[in-house]
Symmetry: C2
Subunit: 191 residues, 2 copies
């Protein structure tokens, strides 16, 4: 592990324990067992560290989603893979995902702008899959903005209840989510 990675891991731990605002650069340095000046050699500010944490997950997600969107497969398979990738990335780094869920407001305006651009790009990739499906006639003409927030909410909420040692793996949970999101709860014979 590089020092940079160790700093990020320590910050994820402390931000989750006490919150971003209540964590000092000194506490992060102590957790990594380095001197404060060494910490500032890697990051200019605490906000830089927060942005790095938020961006690592987002960059990883965007890369996966871009790959999936570009595949020559039907929109149903794309949606299945997108939900699977998103659930897996949360499951691989639940602590980092929890910082994403709770501490995004820690960013000041200039940092936030940069981060929001990435987040909007990420959401636009989910939109693309839904729009392709609607255009090709395999998805209903739902409100795409609401449908994207619905699926993101469903998966992001995993950060609050997913346990690595739980009954189902992240892949199994993603399969259930995809099934629910595609097919809904209705028993076909009853409609």
């Amino acid at each position: 592990m590089t020092t940079r990675e160790a700093i990020i891991d320590a910050a994820v731990l402390l931000f989750n324990e006490k919150g971003y605002h209540a964590t000092s650069m000194r506490a992060i340095a102590e957790q990594v067992e380095i001197e404060k000046p060494s910490l500032y050699h890697h990051f200019n500010s605490k906000e830089d560290i927060l942005l790095a944490i938020l961006e690592i997950g987002m960059t990883h997600l965007i890369k996966e989603l871009e790959r999936i969107v570009a595949l020559e497969i039907d929109p149903i398979s794309k949606l299945r893979r997108a939900i699977g990738a998103h659930a897996r990335i949360i499951a691989e780094n639940p602590q980092g995902a929890a910082v994403f869920l709770r501490e995004d407001r820690g960013l000041s305006d200039s940092y936030l702008r940069e981060y929001v651009l990435k987040r909007d790009h990420f959401e636009s990739l989910f939109r693309k899959i839904l729009i392709q499906g609607i255009e090709e006639g395999c998805f209903r003409a739902v409100d795409v903005t609401i449908a994207v927030q619905a699926v993101l909410g469903m998966v992001n909420w995993m950060t609050r209840w997913y346990r690595p040692d739980g009954r189902l793996s992240a892949g199994e949970i993603a399969d259930h989510f995809t099934d629910l999101f595609l097919t809904g709860l209705f028993q076909p014979s009853s409609t």
Copy 2:
């Protein structure tokens, strides 16, 4: 507004701005423009205030859900009303809902136990609706635990994107959610 309500409003504001751990009782007292001893007359600790904020929304939700579950209507109508009530309660108090989403970890063990009991009861009411629907044959035999977390995630995520002056009202958003959750994305003719 009572002093107690003013304290809760001030705490919601400050917890959202700076996080629970970075907000002091002094800052809350200053925001309400009362002396610190008066603040302690209403709440024994900052944690008491956090618990009150978390419990107000939860108690309100539980009351609504218990009423809906007890109605003599079909499970589809119950689910529709339950999602509607949940979305409306978030929309009526988005700042309080944001504290719920972000600051639950602020509670120490004894407080957390009390809160988790309430949260489990709330989730069990959603479970009841789904189980009734499966037993009566109008819902598919989905994994109930995952389906409950899916619908809660979908609605709770509103705390991150819902705007009172947005394109859709909370009721309209809830209708879209219910439609997605019941019917899914598939175009029936394509399956």
